[in-house]
């Protein structure tokens, strides 16, 4: 029995077409390359941070088809055919901040800022799924993102504030 149907790639470099922040990009990478490496090292999208590389901290959170994922635990080849959104793709093209980003700034939901893109992306996935989260739902959704500076209380405030603003913007 031969796996005639299977498409085997690598182990050397292979061309990959990815859709990142609504843009098609072509990269050449080995199958072992993670989405995090592609974003940071090939595409210079360094807003997605590299901290633990093992799915233990959340700093590399991106969206895959709108769902929050750790880019360090995702192979780039797995992202082919799926929509990838990074922190750079969250604000609008003219640079206007997303309401979550705005709320993080105003409420000071950050200190050193290194975990912040991941926090914002985790929160954005939550609000896309649940536009009016309770306080407990916010905390649960942020449980996969470590903030060593301890900005959590203000992160929770920022997420609640953004949810309220986005809701009133929809009603207007």
């Amino acid at each position: 029995m031969l796996p005639l149907m299977a498409n085997i790639l690598g182990p050397g470099k292979v061309p990959l077409t990815l859709e990142i922040n609504a843009r098609r990009v072509e990269v050449s990478a080995e199958p072992r390359a993670t989405l995090l490496e592609i974003l940071r090292d090939h595409l210079d999208l360094t807003g997605t941070k590299n901290v633990c590389e093992m799915g233990e901290c959340g700093a590399c959170t991106v969206h895959l088809d709108g769902v929050a994922r750790y880019a360090c635990l995702t192979l780039a080849v797995e992202a082919v055919g799926r929509r990838v959104t990074t922190i750079e793709g969250l604000s609008s093209a003219n640079g206007t901040l997303h309401p979550l980003q705005q709320a993080f700034v105003e409420k000071d939901g950050l200190q050193c800022g290194f975990c912040t893109p991941g926090q914002v992306m985790a929160a954005a996935a939550l609000l896309a799924e649940n536009p009016s989260p309770s306080h407990d739902e916010i905390r649960a959704a942020m449980a996969g993102n470590i903030c060593r500076c301890g900005a959590y209380p203000k992160i929770f405030e920022a997420v609640a504030e953004a949810a309220a603003r986005m809701k009133s913007a929809r009603q207007d």
Binding site: K49, V51, D108, L110, C112, P117, R148, G150, A151, P153
Partner: protein, 736 residues
């Protein structure tokens, strides 16, 4: 010439006139209730938009054309000597551009650097490490400080493993203990903790001829410059260290670690820029930690709770270097007429310690406050009353009263009196830390040909908000908004500043910024007075111009800047020495309420009330963030964090963020922050740093609350379920 005057220092109800000697030329401190427009306001972080959008570039995010990637070969043994090394296969790897073997051939902890490789990709560099053939001679080792103290233990250094780090005596503790109505003794152990800043340690080095530029993830660009110049025997003026944004530090980036010279040397060898970013695993092994402690405290008091004496005997390990001491907070917190301190630093074959947020204080206050609660219990007194009786600080006594009310201290029952499996408890602890700042930093304020205002200083913003408070202080002095001031920092080519640590930054840098801005303002006024022919007192500085009061005549800064040969007005000032203050240090206290589940051993912090003074609060929004951060790191230390070494092999077992556990979103309690503004003195902005004060009391308050809930003292941090259940079991056995 210094100016002798009197300042009204203190806080409402406790103001007093204090004679001070103000530095010559320095602005007069703002009054306690001065009507300030920008300072003291909740100004959002000026670099916030860049950080939330991913635009802010940290050292880990930088790339240069032609840049190589480096990786380090590390000794897997806790103690070994190099027998043989052959790098020829690594050198022959087609992507490798440079290989470096360290001069040091004896390795004293698992993780010590042996060799390093620079290659065109990181994968190739890592692969090449595997091609280095190396033979070690394994040597005897000891990683357990209790074993390292024993005679005959393998030596970490030739002088022996134990060094006395602190020895103090005052009065006679022996007599005082004899005469005391109650004496208690207890031993508290705290673990080695890891800073875990999310941006690890990394360096990107580039040579242009003799000029070496290193982008470094550091809290101290000037210190790294000097250390690197020494390490490379290169003139410091030809070394430039740059750090724009930093992803945390907490003390682990105050000194140069090996990745900086390794990157620089590989870059020299390869003739190309080299980036060396440590992995999380490497970071946890090699770039500092908070030393452990075993503290035995003996406390004596009279029947009414007045402290008579304390004996403080402690040891801890900072691995191969870094030191260990815990008792420095004692005099700032309580009055002990008789005191004896004996502290030892125990060397072990483990990664080096270094300062970690409030070094020594965090560990020491846990033990001291535990001893006070135990003593109060023995005397049948309210531990809060005992503290108030012995506290030398008027500020903290007032804070304790405020905090007690907010946490509902009157609800606190006798220890272990809660029925049921889930038991609540309350605890309190105090803090003391001198963050009144140091002289030396210089700030340059300039006004460009477009009227734009820039403040430049080689300080660092490690997430504390330095950039923002500098903008606020300059804006206040010049009558503009913080957003209109561009702050440039993190570059050793900028005017000098001290390291960003020890809660020193705000109090060391903002007075220089204010002085420079005041010079700018005075100069603009003088210039305009001459130009417009109006008297100085008729002029005001606002809205980027000098206006004549009651008329529509004005002169723009832009115009004045363009009128100079350089097209730019520039004013520099240096932070002068401290003058007198109201109290010698910042005070503060925290109260914690916990719930302990006696079936599962789980401890949940329900609420923390944090009452803190830090002189003038320049920006309440950012200040609250600092306090939140202190409390949260303190809880994390109390309940979760500990580096684990298998002492049979000398190997760290949890050098990762799964098993080295730092606090996450679901562990965050309600935190009520109560600012306690004080006219503190010391410097012209009257600021004291808040970074360390905010973390010092938390673990102590939590540990005391747990003891109150259970009626059993957990003698070792972190207070994890195994320890809670273990202590309850031994307690139950003891009672049977």
């Amino acid at each position: 010439m210094a100016k002798k005057t009197k300042l009204k220092l203190g806080f409402p109800g406790h103001f007093k006139q204090v004679a001070v000697s103000l530095p010559a030329g320095d602005p007069v401190p703002w009054e306690f209730d001065a009507d300030l427009k920008v300072v003291g306001k909740r100004v959002p972080r000026v670099d916030g938009p860049d950080k939330v959008s991913g635009k802010a570039r940290y050292t880990f995010d930088l790339r240069l054309p032609g840049m190589l990637h480096a990786a380090v070969l590390r000794c897997p043994h806790p103690h070994a000597r190099l027998r043989r090394i052959d790098t020829s296969k690594a050198k022959a790897h087609p992507e490798v551009r440079a290989v470096l073997v360290m001069e040091e051939k004896e390795y004293r902890f698992a993780g010590a650097e042996v060799a390093a490789v620079a290659a065109t990709t990181l994968a190739a560099a890592r692969q090449a490490l595997g091609l280095i053939e190396v033979q070690y001679e394994k040597l005897p080792f000891v990683t357990d400080p209790d074993l390292a103290r024993r005679p005959g233990a393998p030596k970490v250094r030739t002088e022996g493993n134990v060094e006395v780090s602190l020895e103090t005596r005052r009065g006679s503790v022996e007599t005082a203990f004899r005469e005391a109505d109650a004496v208690v003794e207890l031993t508290i152990r705290t673990p080695v903790a890891l800073h875990t800043c999310l941006e690890g340690h990394g360096s990107l080095a580039r040579w242009e001829g003799d000029l070496l530029t290193v982008w470094d993830s550091t809290q101290a660009v000037f210190d790294v410059r000097d250390s690197l110049a020494r390490a490379l025997k290169h003139p410091p003026e030809n070394v430039r260290i740059i750090k724009d944004h930093a992803g945390g530090g907490f003390g682990s980036k105050l000194q140069m670690w090996s990745q900086t010279p390794i990157a620089a040397r590989l870059a020299k060898l390869a003739g190309a820029p080299v980036r060396l970013l440590l992995s999380r695993h490497e970071d946890f092994l090699c770039t500092g930690n908070r030393h452990s402690s075993v503290q035995t405290l003996k406390l004596g008091a009279s029947r009414d709770g007045t402290f008579k004496a304390i004996s403080w005997r402690a040891y801890g390990t900072g691995g191969i270097e870094g030191g260990a001491e815990t008792s420095r907070a004692v005099d700032g917190l309580y009055r002990f007429p008789n005191l004896e301190v004996h502290e030892e630093n125990v060397y072990t074959h483990a990664g080096p310690a270094c300062p970690m947020r409030a070094p020594g204080h965090v560990q020491g206050v846990v033990a001291l406050e535990a001893a006070i609660d135990t003593l109060s219990e023995k005397l049948g007194l309210d531990p809060l009353e005992v503290r108030l009786k012995n506290d030398p600080s008027e500020i903290r006594k007032a804070e304790l009263s405020v905090g007690a009310e907010r946490i509902g201290w009157s609800r606190r029952g006798p220890s272990g009196s809660n029925p049921g499996a889930r038991k609540r408890g309350l605890g309190v602890a105090g803090t003391t830390w001198d963050g009144s700042g140091l002289p030396g930093p210089e700030v340059e304020v300039s006004i460009g040909a477009g009227g734009e205002v820039t403040a430049t200083c080689g300080t660092q913003d490690i997430g504390t908000g330095t950039r923002t408070i500098l903008a606020q202080v300059v804006a206040e002095e010049l009558g503009i908004s913080a957003a209109e001031v561009t702050v440039r920092l993190g570059d050793s080519y900028f005017p000098y500043s001290i390291l960003s640590g020890g809660s020193l930054t705000a109090a060391s840098v903002t007075p220089a910024a204010r002085a420079a801005a005041a010079k700018a303002r005075a100069s603009l006024l003088r210039f305009a007075s001459k130009e417009l022919g109006d008297k100085l007192e008729d002029l005001e500085c606002s809205d980027h111009q000098i206006r004549v009061r009651g008329s529509n005549r004005s002169l723009s800064w832009e115009h004045m800047a363009q009128d100079t040969p350089s097209g730019r007005l520039s004013f520099k000032a240096e932070r002068q020495g401290n003058f007198a203050g109201f109290e010698p240090a910042a005070a503060g206290c925290q109260f914690a309420e916990v719930e302990v589940d006696t079936d599962t051993g789980e401890v949940r912090v329900v609420k923390v009330v944090a009452v803190h003074d830090s002189g003038r609060i320049l920006n309440p929004l950012l200040w609250e963030s600092q306090v939140n951060g202190g409390v949260i790191q303190g809880i994390s230390f109390a309940l979760l964090e500990q580096r684990v070494i298998d002492h049979r092999y000398g190997t760290v077992l949890n050098a990762d963020m799964e098993t080295y556990k730092v606090l996450g979103a679901l562990e965050v309690p309600e935190i009520e922050i109560i600012p306690f503004p004080v006219a503190a003195g010391f410097n012209n902005t009257q600021v004291i740093g808040i970074g360390e004060p905010a973390i010092i009391p938390t673990a102590a308050a939590v540990a005391n609350a747990v003891a109150n809930a259970l009626g059993v003292r957990i003698g070792e941090l972190p207070i994890t379920p195994d320890r809670v259940l273990g202590a309850l079991e031994s307690h139950a056995k003891g009672r049977r």
